[in-house]
């Protein structure tokens, strides 16, 4: 489903990611793990055709993200770090609007709204203005927006950030329920989330892939947190030594 080869991105002189390669099969749920500023968002943005890479290739469902970007974009549902919400619109008209942008006709859009309102439990706020919604609902509207056209690939950037534990759990179960029918990539810097939702973990640290393994292999009996800290800490120590 996703093939990434030697993907590199520089912001001017500053390195975003360097030489990232991985493959993700259909129906997998993969967690991007890493501290803030490690390059998770950059990788995702390249995959969803938001920005071009400096070098390297990425293909989604066989289409190159740069040369066949329109096909790629049709197959993707994307929830950015800040959900792209228009405060003065109602949830229904917003979802309709996104559906139209994603290529649905009127009827499909209406069905899509029904479906995602149900899956994301938005029925009670469907005619409220987005600006008046709570943080949890806003996040769910963001998720619903990514799901409206029933995409093959879901890219979720920090889907649980800033939510309280209850909301967090709701979102997680929502993501889990989507597994199987969709390929899902989600990024987070919160470890337990990965453990609870993902089958596979890709750890990105300082723009490079530090680890790529199935969850069981990655932890290898240890606690996830320990494994992660070890991975990152080792490098950090090394760096200190160099200095």
């Amino acid at each position: 489903m996703i093939e990434v080869e030697h993907l590199t991105k520089y912001y001017g002189e500053v390195r975003g990611i360097e030489d990232i390669s991985f493959k993700i099969g259909k129906g997998e749920i993969v967690g991007f793990l890493g501290p803030n500023g490690s390059g998770k968002t950059t990788t995702m943005r390249i995959l969803v055709c938001y920005m071009p890479a400096t070098s390297g290739k990425a293909r989604i469902a066989g289409f190159d993200v740069e040369s066949r970007s329109m096909e790629v974009r049709k197959k993707i549902g994307y929830l950015p770090e800040h959900p792209p919400l228009y405060n003065e619109m109602t949830v229904r008209s917003y979802l309709g609007f996104v559906g139209r942008l994603r290529g649905l006709d009127r009827k499909q859009a209406r069905e899509g709204i029904e479906r995602v309102a149900h899956t994301c439990s938005l029925d009670e706020v469907i005619d409220r203005m987005i600006g008046h919604l709570s943080k949890g609902f806003r996040q769910r509207v963001g998720l619903a927006q990514a799901l409206i056209h029933n995409p093959e690939l879901l890219v979720l950037d920090e889907p649980t950030i800033g939510l309280d534990p209850k909301q967090n759990a709701e979102i997680r179960s929502l993501i889990k329920s989507l597994a199987g029918s969709h390929t899902i990539i989600l990024s987070t810097h919160i470890l337990p989330e990965v453990a609870l939702t993902c089958e596979r973990v890709i750890v990105i640290h300082q723009g490079r892939i530090a680890a790529d393994a199935r969850l069981e292999e990655f932890t290898r009996g240890q606690d996830l947190e320990q494994a992660f800290l070890k991975l990152i800490g080792a490098e950090e120590l090394e760096k200190k030594r160099c200095e």
Binding site: V48, C49, Y50, M51, P52, M70, E71, R73, K74, I76, Y78, P80, H82, P84, L85, Y86, N87, E88, M89, S93, F97, V98, R100, L101, R102, G103, D105, Q145
Partner: protein, 267 residues
Amino acid sequence: MRVIGAIFWKELKGYFLSPVAYVVLTGFTAISGWLFYQLLNYFLRITNIVSGYMVKGQIMREWTIADDIMGPLYKNLSLFLIILVPGVTMRLFSEEKKLKTEELLLTAPIRMGQVVLGKYLASVVLLFLMLIPVGVYMSLILYYGSEPDLGTVLSGYLGLFLVAFSLAAIGIFASSLTENQIIAFFVCAVIGLLFFSVGLAARSVGVVSIFSRQLDLGELLRQLSLFEHYSHIVAGRIQLTDPVFFLLIIIFFLFASRINAESARWS
């Protein structure tokens, strides 16, 4: 078409669900109504006393509806548009940048040209509604006036639309430059003012020679002047360059906005 329609309706609803549309419509209607009334009143008063514009007891030119009511009205309103149009267009892209909703547009399977066009059409419709009252005044004049100069009055009215639509294209471009609406406003107003006033400079520059070739810089500046072209249309003397100028302004700035909006990817 589908995408343009979706963007268009979203933006148009956005205008009417926020105070923007009402402030703009109320303000412009009040200003244009007051101006119209003043000009009409003055015209009525003056034509009761003298039949024409007199110098040394001789009639230099007759007072007419086209030249003494509608012409000045159109010209003054075009100056108000420099302030009002940026107010209408400043949010179109700046807000998307500010609220990070731009990311949605850039990752949806749509072309940026469609987005620009949809947004532009929404602002054009609002401006169209804004200028309708002026049309009402015009019809009043045509109804009550004796032998009004229909062609001139109408062409001036159309010219007003062209000015508004050109400024809207400039405004969209300004909005695509920055996430700060205030800056977008001023950039549009300044570009608009430049296009209005560049003709003034034409008077003081003449023919210059560059690399031993004659270039009529004054004429070039005059052709670049929005107000110059607009004055022709208001006077009822439409040269091919006049409508073409406005069309080119619109096309240029819409394309520039598209390129600019697309460039958000490379930051």
